[in-house]
Symmetry: C2
Subunit: 254 residues, 2 copies
């Protein structure tokens, strides 16, 4: 049995609550957050506190709070030498106040509050300062997902910047595609199968081998025509920057 206390009340805290609650091998001893709100309608009010001094004893304290709050909150905890982990992709483990034992429990996915999450499909990146703590964090992670990876703070930083390319920047390209279509009365749905296939391919083969398009072919006529079609300077700049990047990456091989 792993006794867990959840700190925070945001999306990650709520999704973790639901996932932990389902596992017989996990007991959620208590939840702490500044407003003392429940993380789930079924949660017993007695198990929620907004009083940091009344936080109970547990095997692991999970701070599912904003990046900026990790340092302060961890320094305010009214106990020492217990295992405290955060759930952030970009904050180093040692940001946690060293009056307690430090660790990381980072589920790598975008969470939306109203959308159900299947943790079995989510990679969990874990880190622990002490070996016995790392084992406990690993056991907890494996109860949710077999995709559990031991990742250092430095590697987690790299994963985070990589995620910005794969998720945030990719979504911006999708939004440009969507905007251009809308402006010209073309249903963006026409591009949905291509979008799906692009993502599917990247999972099946190395994206370096899947690269196609005017930049890859060095098709200067099409590139010039496309740049003329784009009226938004920001879209033009992105088109030029990415075209140049593709050409310089693969140009050497031509």
């Amino acid at each position: 049995m792993i006794r867990v206390i959840l700190l925070g009340a945001g999306n990650v805290a709520q999704h973790l609550y639901k996932a932990f609650y389902k596992q017989p091998a996990i007991t959620i001893v208590q939840c702490y957050n500044r407003k003392g709100v429940r993380l789930h309608p079924d949660q017993n009010e007695n198990n929620v506190t907004k009083n940091i001094a009344s936080i109970k004893e547990a095997d692991i304290y999970i701070m599912a709070v904003s990046d900026d709050a990790i340092k302060t909150l961890s320094s305010q905890l009214p106990f020492t030498n217990r295992l405290v982990v955060h759930t952030s992709g970009s904050v180093p483990m040692i940001a946690i106040n060293n009056s307690n034992r430090q660790g990381v429990f980072y589920p790598l996915q975008t969470f939306t509050s109203d959308k159900a999450v299947d943790f079995a499909k989510i990679p969990i990146c874990i880190e622990g300062d002490q070996e016995k703590d790392l084992f406990l964090i690993e056991r907890l992670a494996l109860l949710l997902s077999k995709k559990t990876y031991q990742i250092s703070s430095a590697q987690r930083n790299i994963l985070h910047v990589s995620a910005v390319f794969v998720n945030n920047f990719t979504n911006h390209l999708f939004s440009i595609g969507n905007d251009i279509c809308k402006e010209n009365n073309i249903p963006f749905e026409i591009l949905h199968p291509l979008l799906q296939e692009t993502a599917k391919k990247a999972l099946e083969i190395n994206p370096n081998k899947a690269q196609t398009g005017p930049a890859m072919r060095n098709d200067t006529k099409t590139i010039a025509r496309h740049l003329k079609l784009l009226s938004d300077p920001s879209q033009q700049e992105i088109y030029q920057t990415l075209t140049k990047a593709i050409q310089s990456k693969y140009g050497k091989k031509l």
Copy 2:
């Protein structure tokens, strides 16, 4: 019964051959290509020609050839006033020599020669100069896919540039994510679920509403740290260009 002649021997021609061959309402009268190769191992050699003068009669001639070849090939055809269409996303319909009736039959998907294609899921963009021709092209398209859209040459151009963002540029961002992980001994597989979720979200909600990340939050500390982590100037430039674009797009709303 629609009688079809396929011109060309590339990926699109091969995939169209397979798809047409399955349809009882379609007869592939003949295939023409410069080398006289069969498009399928089962194809009867008598139905293949490399002699342009011996092209037979059909209801529709489909030129599945490279963009540059459309103008020349269409001007060499040894007949007039028949329906000739191309399959290109970026060439205007009127590039087809006007000695014949013009049209477009553009399946919007990336084709890989060794990968089976389910045409039922592929949008087909059609265009025709004359109404009766457009009807025939539409009938032919609907036999393969219910996702058939009437799209003008101008709109097709917009779709094509939009597809470059959604497919080619997106794939380059995936390849950067992959490269950064590889260089740091992190399995790119950890990012696969995030990549899938990003694409899935774009199909379910407007990508403008799905935008997240450091640029969106204007999290200058994280942005600065990410830029330091990137050693490749091309990756840095893409990071800066896209961050600026996201900030200027959504900044107004903040």
